[in-house]
């Protein structure tokens, strides 16, 4: 710590150059934060996916429906604990920009299948007792200022009622929370029995996809094969995969998100590497004589290396911390505007620590060559360059 003043003073030597370099680093880490949030929004669910859950969808496309009768057959397949289904409703609230997910489900089985959804017992009871009842996640409830007892009209883009109306009215009977921060609390769930009765003839008795709870997660591949074999050569063949793979596949429709994010970040950090490296190289070159003085008064080669490395790391860590802090502050604002499209848009704490680690690594890599250059200086030669 006693060297901090010296390190800090050296950074302040060329204020404009240091500020511009710092700004570049800050921008890079803001970008890192935002891209991490996008990645989290698109594939973050993979990490949270239940290892004991499989998703069964129609083999050709998820937009093709599956018979509701499959549920009973699935429950009989060895290794399956129980199954339940969901269907894409595709509705908006008041305005097309107010898009969020709403799915009809079987309430009891749905809640049993998804323990990450936390619903108070009295609200669960109300849901079971109310045919038009719906539960909604905390984020959406707060977004639209909904409360229990409200009647909310949802305009479906797919499903029509017998009178030709596409407006479905639901009674909000419960507001659920997520077990952890990664749980998406934007969707609304309502009862399948109400939905199936109230929709027009098309699609009746059909569901979007099934979720299966398996008894032994290590048997997932075998159970998936058994499920698909069960419905082979039927009018609606199935494709069964772990929930994580299903989410990953969903995100992959936009391309390989992880690769795209990694490619952008690599380009950004490579540029920052050059910018910061150049700053540090210039800083050391300009101070050759002063480094000679430090060595003359007794600083060892190792101490000189440590001083230069500490200087570059301090620069990148300050830039990284400010950039990540800004990203953390920006993401909730962006998330509000993307609630429908990217409901899980947030910067995870894990990525903050990765970012900080990256900033230290950046400081080390950009500082090591100038530091070695400083170490190799011969004192007598360096003093002549004052």
């Amino acid at each position: 710590m006693k060297f901090l003043h010296l390190i800090w003073s050296n950074l302040r030597r060329k204020k404009l150059r240091t500020s511009l370099t710092l700004l570049s680093i800050i921008v890079a880490f803001v970008l890192f934060g935002l891209l991490s949030a996008i990645q989290q929004a698109l594939v973050g669910g993979v990490a949270l996916a239940g290892a004991d859950r499989l998703i069964v969808r129609e083999k050709v496309s998820i937009i093709n429906l599956l018979p509701v009768s499959y549920e009973a057959r699935m429950d009989r397949i060895p290794g399956v604990d129980f199954s339940t289904h969901q269907t894409w409703f595709g509705g908006v609230y008041q305005d097309p920009k107010n898009f969020f997910m709403q799915n009809p489900v079987e309430p009891e089985k749905f809640l049993k299948m998804h323990p990450e959804i936390i619903l108070p017992p009295d609200e669960e009871k109300a849901w079971l007792a109310t045919r038009t009842g719906a539960i909604v996640g905390r984020r959406t409830a707060e977004r639209f200022h909904w409360k229990i007892g409200d009647k909310v009209p949802i305009q479906s883009t797919i499903w029509t009622q017998p009178d030709g109306s596409q407006t479905w009215t639901f009674d909000i009977v419960g507001i659920y929370d997520g077990k952890d921060k990664g749980t998406d609390t934007t969707p609304m769930f309502f009862r399948y029995d109400y939905f199936d009765e109230a929709r027009q003839q098309w699609g009746k008795g059909k569901v979007g996809w099934y979720t299966i709870r398996i008894k032994d997660p290590s048997q997932a591949a075998e159970v998936a094969k058994r499920v698909d074999a069960e419905f082979e050569n039927s009018p609606a063949e199935t494709k069964t995969e772990p929930e994580g793979a299903f989410i990953q596949g969903w995100a992959s429709q936009l391309g390989n998100i992880v690769f795209i994010v990694a490619a952008i970040l690599s380009a950004v950090f490579f540029t920052i590497l050059l910018v910061t490296g150049n700053t540090m190289a210039q800083a050391v070159r300009e101070r050759t004589g002063e480094l000679g003085v430090l060595k003359a008064i007794g600083f060892s080669n190792g101490q000189v290396v440590a001083l230069v490395l500490a200087e570059s790391c301090l620069l990148t860590v300050i830039g990284g911390a400010v950039g990540l802090g800004l990203a953390r502050a920006i993401t909730p604002v962006v998330a509000q505007n993307l609630a429908g499209l990217l409901p899980m848009f947030f910067l995870p704490t894990r990525d903050l620590f990765i970012g900080l680690g990256l900033s230290i690594a950046l400081g080390f890599v950009t500082g090591i060559f100038p530091a070695l250059q400083a170490m190799r200086l011969r004192v007598a030669d360096a003093l002549r360059r004052m």
Binding site: H5, L6, S9, G289, A296, G298, S300, A380, L383
Partner: protein, 235 residues
């Protein structure tokens, strides 16, 4: 092999030292078979024309460079035998340097410049500050402690340089043309200060200069020419 005996005799003992620099294929013999003894408490001036090897000799005595042949011992420590790390630690403990161009850190105030050598010690912040204040008081610059070098005159900067050189109470103070960049008045003040450090505080000082006006302040002057010392003149 050198026959220097350690832990006895003069403070500085240079024996049969040779220093050769290599420039491309050319060997430049800067010091040749040079011998020198400096007793503790002496104020020695080394004079000579440019390129005579004065600074090279000072660098060897200060452990900033190593002889090609021969031996250099200070207070019984054979410098050419010390590894780099130990030599750096030895410099921190035993030598104070005063440079012609002051060589202060422009980003640090006078007191923080003086504190630099103390950062290598185990002293606490308060203890370091006390030492810094004492050193600045000795050179008469207590009132300029918070000033940056750019706001100080040349003479004041050199006094800060001297304060930095003596703040660790080193065995030896090595001055390379300490008045070379100063006007006569400021130079005299610096020489007065060095004389006072030698006479009143018993500091052993070796000063390189080409200025006869400066050399007369020393107790002994040696002339260096073409890498060899001529007979010293004892006053």
């Amino acid at each position: 092999m050198s026959e220097i005996k350690t832990n006895s005799g003069p403070l500085v003992q240079v024996e049969r030292v040779e220093k050769v620099f290599h420039r491309g294929s050319e060997d430049i013999h800067v010091l040749t078979d040079l011998n020198l003894q400096v007793p503790a408490g002496e104020f020695l001036a080394l004079m000579g024309p440019s390129g005579s090897g004065k600074t090279t000799l000072l660098n060897l005595i200060g452990g900033l460079d190593r002889p090609t042949n021969g031996a250099v011992a200070v207070a019984g420590e054979r410098l050419e035998q010390l590894p780099d790390r130990a030599l750096a630690a030895w410099r921190a403990r035993h030598v104070g340097f005063v440079f012609q161009l002051y060589n202060l850190m422009p980003v640090l105030t006078a007191e923080r410049n003086v504190e630099l050598p103390l950062l290598l010690t185990h002293l606490s912040r308060a203890e370091r500050q006390k030492h810094v204040e004492t050193a600045l008081a000795m050179v008469g610059l207590s009132h300029r402690a918070k000033h940056y070098p750019r706001t100080l005159s040349g003479g004041e900067q050199q006094r800060v340089g001297i304060a930095r050189g003596i703040v660790t109470d080193p065995t030896l103070l090595l001055c390379d043309e300490p008045t070379g960049d100063l006007d006569r008045k400021a130079g005299d003040e610096i020489l007065n200060l060095l004389q006072s450090l030698n006479r009143e505080h018993g500091k052993t000082i070796i000063m390189v200069t080409h200025d006869p006006h400066a050399s007369v302040r020393a107790a002994r002057t040696l002339h260096l020419d073409k890498g060899q010392l001529s007979n010293g003149e004892v006053k």
